[in-house]
């Protein structure tokens, strides 16, 4: 559409003509929706619509058209009105809008008027906007017949639209354009014939493939590939194969030949498999890649074995490609050959083979992968670990367990690691045994694996290990494993049983570790036991107990924390307890019977340092509660806390927008009046402006 003429309805005579031309359109219209002009008014206003003006009339007409969906008579009346508008003195924008409506609602009744606009520089593309989608032979005929009289973009557009309509009756006309002197038109005609397909299109394209100039010949090749695909989709493989064969054997580049090769395999099946295996050894990387893709896609029975048997004779780059393709194919028929390639001299082949075993491997891959995980360079080691962890099959875990007995220490460690990653609960006994074995690295890895795999039944033995070990790193891993296994026990009150049972036997670092573990496991019995440790004589255990209570996994330690925050002997413990209490307030949020605002108030009254007061204000900032607002406002007077208090007031006020807007507004206004800092006032002003209306912002994608 060209730019609209700049003038408006300049003369009354023009307006009178316009009104007369459209007068008959404005009859028998349904009632308008609220806020919309009535139908007659809508059509009248539409006729003079210009860009930048209100769309109300357009929306009204669009609604009428949409709502006439189930009323053929009304739909016809509206179509006639739109067609009349096309032939009237209405603005170009109005006619373009009519074309949009006819694209969805038009019929053969509209075709004549739309065809008349195909040569109009400003409306040609909008006429096609409708014609391209109006069903029936009339629209095809209109576009086809216009080819001879159109030129430039309008002609090119008509060619494109004929392609999109996929109507074979246009094939002959388009075929003639393959030799058009305008190269763009000839290429467009080839593309359109590709969309249409069928015998007539194929024959025309075949002529272009032989005799056309390079650009058109290239377009014809692409179009022929599309035609061949359509034959395949319509279960006409021999016609598809003929096309593919011509392109495969022709003087084309790797892109077209590669596509033809894959098409040949789809059309001819096993008969074309030798071509694929041959192309895998091609010097043309595009053909090699296409052959590998064909290997991935083909459904021919037994293809995997045929393709995999080609592996040993290929050069490394092609081997790597084919191995990746076979892996994606996922057929275990390639397992043997791929397994052999993990020892290839070419690093890229080894890497692909190791990766491929993740999907192709079974129990037989355990030993080589474990060896590689233990001794290969980093990239291959990481790939071997990933594949070992992903091996599928019921007997893989058993194979790993059996392998443990005879393995070297590094391989044992790798097997233990993988059994953990595989969450193999059946490996618990074996891992516990390794955790008490002779090799330190294996012991450590086994404990790490137990944290991932051991179930609750292993907790007593893990607690025992924790108590007995003298190596700090192993104790730390045993602690993690004990916590993880205990948490897997279904009954919350039974979870701490193993740790509690071991506690009387533990001293020093082991007791410290068990106290930490009890804190992480949680539960009322554990809390009671940890509380008991506060009175012990070992300062390190006492310290661990305070920290465990401060990190308690639920708010149940809040009472004890408050006691400690008020009365612990050491200041460090009072601070840790107060911070733990603030954390408990956060955890208490939303829990039935909890009152986090009261907890924050208590914390503010207890805190002697600005750091904890700031934490309390930060916690308050997330609460939609008038008491929180009041508390935050009261902290504004403290210069040291003003920034955090102001931020809290702003956030709480925003959160209260839906429930207590007046109070929120008043608090913000007070802040604006009283805050000395311009930055705080600005934030408050922005918040005040946003109350009742969410501000717009650019969202990331």
């Amino acid at each position: 559409m060209r730019r609209p003429r700049s003038g408006r309805c300049r003369a009354s005579a023009f307006c009178a003509r316009l009104a007369a031309a459209l007068a008959w359109l404005f009859a028998m219209a349904p009632a308008a929706a609220p806020g919309e002009p009535a139908a007659d008014d809508a059509f009248r206003q539409l006729a003079s619509y210009r860009f930048g003006q209100s769309r109300a009339a357009l929306d009204a007409v669009a609604r009428l058209v949409r709502e006439s969906h189930a009323d053929p008579a009304e739909r016809r009346r509206l179509e006639d009105r739109l067609v009349a508008l096309l032939g009237s003195e209405a603005t170009q924008e109005a006619k373009a809008f009519a074309c949009r409506q006819l694209a969805v609602a038009g019929s053969s009744r509209s075709v004549g008027a739309l065809a008349g606009l195909l040569g109009d520089e400003g409306l040609s593309s909008m006429a096609r906007y409708a014609l391209e989608r109006i069903p029936g032979p009339e629209a095809t005929a209109a576009l086809r017949d216009a080819l001879g009289r159109l030129s430039g973009p309008a002609r090119l557009g008509a060619v494109n639209s004929l392609g999109e309509r996929k109507d074979p009756s246009a094939a002959a006309a388009l075929a003639r354009l393959l030799s058009d002197p305008d190269k763009a038109v000839a290429c467009a005609a080839a593309a359109a014939l590709g969309r249409i397909g069928g015998s007539e299109a194929v024959h025309a394209l075949a002529r272009a493939l032989k005799g056309a100039e390079p650009a058109v010949r290239a377009a014809a090749a692409h179009a022929s590939l599309e035609c061949a695909e359509a034959f395949l989709a319509r279960s006409r493989p021999s016609e598809a194969a003929g096309l593919y064969q011509g392109l495969w054997a022709g003087n084309f580049g790797g892109l077209v030949r590669g596509s033809a090769l894959r098409g040949l395999l789809a059309a001819k099946g096993r008969e074309a498999l030798p071509l694929v295996t041959e192309a895998l050894g091609s010097d043309d990387p595009e053909l090699r890649a296409a052959a590998a893709l064909a290997a991935r896609e083909t459904q021919i029975p037994g293809a995997t074995e045929v393709l995999a048997s080609r592996l040993p004779s290929l050069k490394p780059p092609a081997q790597a490609l084919l191995v990746a393709a076979l892996a994606e194919r996922g057929d275990p028929g390639a397992r043997g050959q791929v397994l052999a390639l993990v020892k290839s001299p070419a690093p890229e082949v080894r890497l692909e083979a190791i990766r491929a075993l993740a999907t192709l491997g079974d129990a037989s891959a355990v030993a080589p992968l474990a060896e590689l995980a233990a001794s290969a360079p980093p990239a291959e080691r990481d790939a071997a670990r990933a594949s070992l962890d992903r091996l599928r099959g019921q007997d893989v875990d058993r194979a790993m367990l059996e392998r443990l007995a005879a393995a070297t220490a590094p391989v044992k460690a790798e097997l233990a690691r993988s059994l953990g990653e595989r969450r193999c609960a059946a490996a618990t006994d074996a891992l516990l045994e390794l955790a008490t074995g002779a090799e330190p690295a294996v012991r450590l890895q086994a404990l790490k694996a137990l944290a991932l795999a051991a179930d609750g039944a292993a907790a007593p033995r893990l607690a025992e290990l924790l108590v007995r070990t003298t190596v700090d790193a192993e104790r730390a891993e045993a602690e993690k494993a004990l916590v993880a296994a205990s948490r897997r026990i279904a009954d919350p009150e039974s979870r701490a049983s193993a740790a509690l049972a071991a506690l009387p036997r533990a001293t020093g670092s082991a007791r410290e570790s068990l106290v930490r573990a009890l804190g992480a496991i949680g539960g009322s019995k554990a809390l009671q036991a940890v509380r008991g440790e506060l009175a012990g004589s070992d300062a390190r255990v006492q310290d661990a107990a305070v920290r465990a209570i401060a990190e308690w996994p639920d708010p149940s330690a809040q009472g004890l924390l408050l006691e400690l925050a008020r009365g612990a002997q050491k200041e460090t413990h009072r601070v840790i307890a107060l911070r733990g209490y603030l954390r408990a307030a956060e955890l208490a949020r939303g829990r039935p019977g909890s009152d986090p605002v009261a907890m924050y108030r208590e914390a503010l009254s207890l805190a002697s340092r600005a750091e904890e007061k700031r934490l309390a204000l930060a916690g308050l900032a997330g609460l939609a509660d008038l008491r929180a607002l009041e508390l935050a406002e009261s902290a504004l007077a403290d210069e040291e806390l003003r920034a955090e208090a102001a931020a809290a007031v702003v956030n709480i006020a925003k959160a209260l927008d839906g429930s207590h807007r007046a109070e929120a507004r008043a608090a913000l206004e007070r802040l604006i009046r009283t805050a000395p800092e311009p930055s705080i006032r600005k934030k408050a002003e922005e918040a005040l402006a946003s109350l009742g209306a969410k501000p717009l912002k650019e969202e990331p994608q």
Partner: protein, 449 residues
């Protein structure tokens, strides 16, 4: 060692085997008056095979669209050692030149002053795609400019990373996905949530029955916007507005139409339904195991701007039904992100959060013999790795097309305001020729699929 020149990069890694018939040089492409109307896909440079190239060789890349998202993509690829950026393209000269500067300064720094790495800049993407020394392109243009350059690149033998939503119409997606398959190209849709552990884990947990039988999925999208009426303005200097409009019906320039705002106008985009739906509905499809298919019914209500330039819905609520009985409720009123509801619990996932009820679901581990979904932890890295291995990416064209289709179906249902039945196999509405007409749109010449 200094930064290799493009020539060296190419001589080290690429062999060109284009035959005369499917190859056209850039000079030939640009020659003559007909270039203005050149068919997009007659240009067939062949970025021939990375197949078998060694890991030390670089992937030569070109960037089409260098606005905010495009610059983000450019910088993400630029700083990777196995990438060489050869060219940038944008219809806005200021953005284009800024991108060129970023690339050249990076290579100048990298070569420690021993040489300046040139980066070509174009206003017409066809010139960039016509270069036969570029292996892969990244497309970060407005939505109505995704499919056409992607098709041209694919038909020229290039691999493609294309921003989401992949398409403007359902028809575009079908043609693009078919072409990607036909030419064996590596294609990544820019729906990067697929490369997030959180989203993948959520989908794996759902697919493995951790919340029982999946019944309902809720996706929460960002609201759209309205704006006022805007008069035509002079086109800013250096902005090729006719090219920016591309396939879309002609309309006069105004600032509110272009750049970030295009997404609120249905001629260029599907609104927030496609902008955010291409992320969250994509995850819904993944979790439901229908990412190569789609729903069978759709019904929706949208609140469209009462007037003004923008015409994409502001608020909307669309309900989809899948053949497996699962319903998808996509709404601007839902909690942002994706919520899967099953017979035994729910899982909620968004970029910052993964939550479940019962919470123990999140501690559950996917074992080797269970359903494991494609694992990618870096969307851009995944694309580069696949360019080398010729493997399928985590978000290939077919999936990008299917996810975009879910969103397009929602828009069509909102525009027609009635329940529609959809055949995801044929990709046609069931007994509804009027709705079928909204699957495609005619393009302004010379553009075509």
């Amino acid at each position: 060692m200094g930064t290799p020149t493009p020539t060296r990069v190419l001589s080290g890694c690429l062999q060109r085997h284009s035959g005369p018939a499917d190859r056209m040089t850039r000079r030939e492409f640009l020659r003559g008056a007909s270039a203005a109307f050149a068919a997009p896909w007659v240009v067939a440079s062949s970025a021939l095979g990375l197949a078998g190239r060694s890991p030390s060789e670089r992937i030569a890349m070109g960037f089409i669209g260098t606005g905010a998202q495009g610059m983000g993509n450019l910088k993400t690829f630029l700083y990777r050692d196995d990438v060489q950026v050869l060219a940038v393209c944008d219809v806005d000269s200021s953005r284009r030149e800024e991108a060129r500067k970023v690339v050249e300064e990076h290579y100048a720094r990298k070569s420690q002053g021993t040489g300046r790495q040139q980066c070509a800049s174009y206003s017409d993407f066809r010139e960039l795609v016509a270069r036969d020394d570029i292996d892969a392109v990244v497309i970060s243009t407005p939505d109505h400019w995704h499919t056409i350059p992607a098709l041209e690149a694919v038909r020229s033998g290039k691999d493609v990373y294309c921003e989401k939503p992949l398409t403007l119409t359902i028809a575009e997606g079908r043609v693009l996905a078919d072409a990607v398959r036909r030419y064996g190209r590596v294609f990544q849709t820019g729906s990067q949530q697929r490369s997030s552990d959180k989203f993948r884990l959520a989908c794996e947990l759902v697919r493995n029955g951790r919340i029982g039988a999946l019944r309902l999925i809720k996706t929460g999208l960002v609201r759209g916007r309205a704006t006022g009426l805007h008069a035509a303005e002079p086109v800013p200097k250096g902005f090729d507005y006719e090219m920016w409009l591309g396939q879309a019906p002609w309309a006069p320039y105004c600032k509110e139409r272009c750049h970030y705002n295009f997404r609120f106008i249905l001629d260029y985009s599907g609104g927030q339904m496609t902008n955010w739906g291409a992320h969250h509905n994509d995850i819904a499809q993944w979790g439901n195991g229908t990412d190569l298919s789609g729903p069978v019914e759709v019904e929706g209500r949208g609140e469209f701007p009462a007037d003004g330039l923008y015409d994409a819905p502001i608020d909307f609520e669309v309900e989809y039904t899948y053949a497996n009985g699962v319903r998808l409720l996509c709404s601007t009123k839902n909690r942002s992100g994706v919520t899967f509801e099953g017979s035994e619990g729910w899982i909620y996932v968004d970029r910052g959060q993964l939550a479940a009820n019962p919470p123990s679901v999140l501690g559950s581990v996917i074992k080797p013999n269970e359903i494991r979904l494609y694992e990618s932890r870096d969307h851009h890295r995944n694309f580069l790795d696949c360019v080398r291995s010729r493997s399928e990416t985590v978000a290939p064209a077919e999936i990008g097309h299917r996810s975009a289709t879910v969103c397009h179906l929602g828009n069509i249902a909102m525009l027609l305001r009635r329940r529609l039945r959809w055949d995801p196999g044929r990709e046609r509405f069931v007994n509804d020729p009027e709705a079928d007409r909204m699957i495609a749109r005619a393009m302004r010449a010379p553009w075509r699929l």
